[in-house]
Symmetry: C2
């Protein structure tokens, strides 16, 4: 991966691709590369939908190799949702495929002057950029079906739905999975709107003729990878828990902890939680001939994904993640898995972040536009977003805009981005991450739920501010590094509990690149990523005032524990003291 592909969509005479050496970004990949490039090359005050913004798509350091679970893709840009820097992370086949094609990144720059819609085809022979206006308005599913006919079933597709074309701030970028379905999304922060602003509908990656990436020291790499896989398999979460029930295993756990945000963050428990739990979902999937144990990309040994069939036994969507089930479920008072799965399907098809969409519907319900629990209304809302009605454009712009337009005070966002499925009052550590992450409210930026609720890497009291700053700081640093390796974040469960598994990861990287990294070097990598991101945000106008939760979290107590968020502002300002 010593080259990157620069595509200038605004070049005179039409879009132009150049394959160039990675140069100053050598050695960087994934989030480390996207954040370095965006913070260096994108003017912090530029319009996120303008020619100056860049969309950077980068596989991780180990993507495209035999390393297990190394298939995560980083997508970076200035976010239309937050106005700050964004790295949004997706599974699926894109990361492995792009890495095998030898690209450390695709950088989409500039902006075409007309409204032609483009596809970008990349294979071992080079790049073809074509106008294809017949794709306008297509949902991701129909789009991929059409492109599969034109290209290959074995290719991988990175695409936007109509919501990305409309440049709405909740638009996602879809990546196809092992079955070549557009189910794995770089969801957060409106990356799909940036791709839409550059009039790129789809990127087709075909790695035919390219082999696995080769390690510098194949024997050492193979041996480390074996320890790595063993480590993942022996940990109860990565080895069994995720495989059995997927991420939705968390519904019952968070509900029990009183940290399951219900009815737009009114309460911490949802009375009908068992109807939408991972256990119920997995049983239903099995009963209908789906599959609750399945990877989102080749090389995954955790297999937390799954396949959700409708009541007629036909494929409906991939197994919705915990955060999706929460966003459209308990957060909106909806307790029907088929409704939630349909919402997940629609989100994927239109190209919408499921978390932002669910949180937005919660705000719309609070505004009185529909009753909590009304699944048909929720489906109608999402369809309106997909169609781009006036209401749809409001909702598709996210929870912050929806709250503003309808005069709602209880809007669960930080830096304009909606909070996921953990209430900060009952899970203090995640509240610190929500408040301070350069990404806006993002559970994946420093998943303190692991320690607060599951006791991973040591137990901290979720209801107390004690120790949460240090916990979130360390997790944010570690996560920034993990997001640069191409590794799925869930490896953290094993890595945090098993030092030998962490060492196996470092050994794999060293064997692959011929490096001599230590654990401290990995931490330093994470810190440097965060420093780049914080510097971009500071130049974009972010201050400590933006590292805060909305006032209702410190003012209104959350049942059943009747707790408020008790981490002080002064403590929050210590997170990045490193």
């Amino acid at each position: 991966m010593e080259k990157m592909l620069r595509i200038n969509m605004g070049a005179d005479g039409g879009p132009k691709a150049s394959s160039i050496p990675v140069g100053e970004y050598s050695g960087l990949a994934g989030r480390a590369l996207t954040s370095a490039l965006v913070s260096k090359e994108v003017p912090p005050l530029c319009h996120p939908l303008g020619a100056e913004n860049k969309l950077v798509i980068s596989p991780g350091m180990l993507s495209g190799s035999l390393a297990a679970n190394s298939g995560r893709l980083s997508v970076g840009c200035k976010s239309p949702l937050t106005g700050g820097i964004k790295e949004s992370n997706a599974g699926g086949m894109a990361s492995q495929t792009l890495a095998r094609l030898g690209y450390a990144a695709i950088v989409i720059e500039g902006k075409p002057s007309g409204d032609d819609l483009y596809t970008i085809f990349i294979n071992k022979d080079g790049v073809n950029i074509n106008v294809d206006n017949s794709l306008k308005g297509l949902g991701n599913y129909a789009l991929v079906e059409k492109l599969k006919q034109q290209y290959s079933e074995k290719a991988c597709y990175i695409s936007i739905g109509p919501v990305g074309e409309m440049k709405l701030a909740s638009a996602s970028i879809a990546c196809t999975d092992m079955e070549c379905r557009p189910t794995r999304h770089a969801g957060r922060g409106g990356t799909g709107a940036v791709m839409g602003s550059k009039n790129v509908k789809a990127i087709i990656l075909d790695d035919t003729g390219m082999g696995m990436r080769k390690p510098k020291d194949p024997d050492k790499f193979k041996e480390a990878n074996k320890r790595w896989v063993d480590g993942l398999k022996k940990h109860p979460v990565t080895g069994e828990g995720l495989a059995a029930y997927g991420t939705n295993v968390l519904t019952n756990i968070l509900n029990e902890a009183g940290g399951y945000p219900t009815h737009n963050f009114m309460w911490g428990r949802f009375e009908n939680h068992t109807k939408i739990s991972g256990e119920t979902q997995a049983a239903l999937e099995t009963e209908r001939g789906g599959n609750p144990t399945h990877g989102c990309h080749r090389g995954c040994v955790m297999r937390c994904s799954g396949i959700y069939m409708d009541k007629y036994g036909q494929y409906l969507t991939k197994q919705p993640e915990y955060e999706t089930v929460w966003a459209h479920g308990g957060n909106c008072g909806i307790d029907d898995l088929d409704t939630i799965a349909m919402l997940d399907r629609l989100d994927d098809d239109y190209g919408i972040d499921t978390i932002e969409m669910g949180a937005t519907i919660g705000v719309a319900m609070e505004a009185g536009l529909a009753k909590f629990g009304d699944g048909a209304a929720a489906i109608n809302f999402v369809n309106q977003v997909g169609k781009g009605t006036d209401m749809g454009r409001i909702l598709g712009s996210g929870a912050a805009v929806t709250g503003k337009v309808f005069g709602v005070e209880r809007v669960p966002v930080v830096k304009g981005q909606s909070m996921p499925a953990y209430d900060p009052r009952a899970v203090h550590g995640i509240g610190v991450t929500y408040a301070t992450s350069p990404m806006g409210a993002d559970h994946t930026a420093g998943y303190a739920v692991g320690s607060n609720i599951l006791g991973i890497g040591g137990k901290t009291d979720p209801l107390s501010p004690e120790g949460q700053i240090e916990l979130s700081r360390n997790l944010q640093i570690a996560t920034a590094a993990v997001d640069s390796t191409g590794m799925c974040l869930f490896i953290a469960f094993a890595v945090l509990d098993q030092p030998e598994t962490f060492q196996a990861l470092i050994d794999m990287i060293n064997a692959f690149y011929g490096f001599n990294l230590t654990a401290d070097d990995v931490a330093e990598l994470g810190k440097s990523v965060l420093r780049n991101e914080r510097a971009f945000n500071a130049a974009a106008g972010f201050t400590s005032a933006h590292d805060r939760l909305p006032g209702f979290f410190t003012r209104d107590a959350l049942p059943p524990h009747n707790v408020k968020f008790k981490v002080t502002d002064a403590e929050l300002d210590q997170v990045f003291n490193f």
Copy 2:
């Protein structure tokens, strides 16, 4: 004015009014008082529509006295439009009336829990707060008609229309004029939404039985006021220009200067400008039996206001101001005065800031929702805002939200507030004020147009960055002081050109209060106001990154002079170096 009225709308048992001494705010009035109180008492990170925000309504230092042109009212709060501090200023009868009732301010705090709508009646005997849900949804005109029956034709009314009730960020607060019509608005920054969030529909001020406020030294005061009036009358702008054509005299002047923003800031000249100029407007008003020369409050000697009749000779609206004629006219490509007057009437009736509304329609037209020049579409847009349709709620949330929802890049806002009728590329001084004012883009915060275009207080080259920082700095300081006196800002034309008229103003204040202020003290007052405002904004998360114009002003040249905005960021950061 040694007392203020604190009204807690969220008190247990219902809203409660307390008349208390001004205490620490003694000696402050107008903007000096609203900004001091908001910066001291409103948490900078609170939700602008929440219980913690406060709406502060304050007459100026000389309001309620015999001083000519002292009838301006300041309305302060945290702005739902900008997220920063706001002082919005209105003419009409409210300031004089409130001052005669002896109140330095009305402070509306807290928030009722239900959705009852309230009126607040204030006279010499005290305060009555009543529920009146029959007023829900009424436009300002119908509302005032209804209240006049119930109260008095001689009372003064401060009210919100349906847009304030909907808490949309472009909502204004209306004040009645000499004819008891709701035509004078604290328009900018969404003050009407804050009043709406506190469920206050109208404040009725009846000063029956109260006399003029008495100066400490009546003879000195009378003598200074005579010099003051003479000074205003002898200056060509305040003595003749404004009276003859109103503020709309600027249409031809700005168009000639190439600084008249046309078609959403695409060009600097509007080919049909003469059809909507002040000269044409005044002739039409006279022809139809209206009146182009009229004051907005008693005691005005400049009389820049007027009365606009429809083609049947019936009252339609007050003479639309230059910025309104521009916002709905050239900015939207509309060249018909009757259409513009109807838009002005609708804005006043629904309770919308005319500048924000016109700029928003320009953005909507750029988004392709209607063609530039389509007056019927513009009227339809405003009606939708008034009715609160989905489209109306988008547009009523202002240009920044509308741009976001429709993916428009050319959005002429600073700190979320729309720019008025002067393009910063052709009028550099006003660009500095737009960029740096704590209020967001606001021509009244430091009216550099006077020097750049009219040569008031010395001429500066409008197309050059030279001298603009100092000009804007001095004007912003002076304006903050003037906004605290209750004086109409237009006195600045005379005061800047005639030192003896400035001295007359200081002498009036000194005679009235028994002070010994010098010109330096007045400047210090202005500086202290700005310091309070900047401190609030800093704590609310504003940095120098927010003191910038949108990128297209430095990137795209403006015809006909083909100029870009050339003041550097480093220079902008010098404005508040005092």
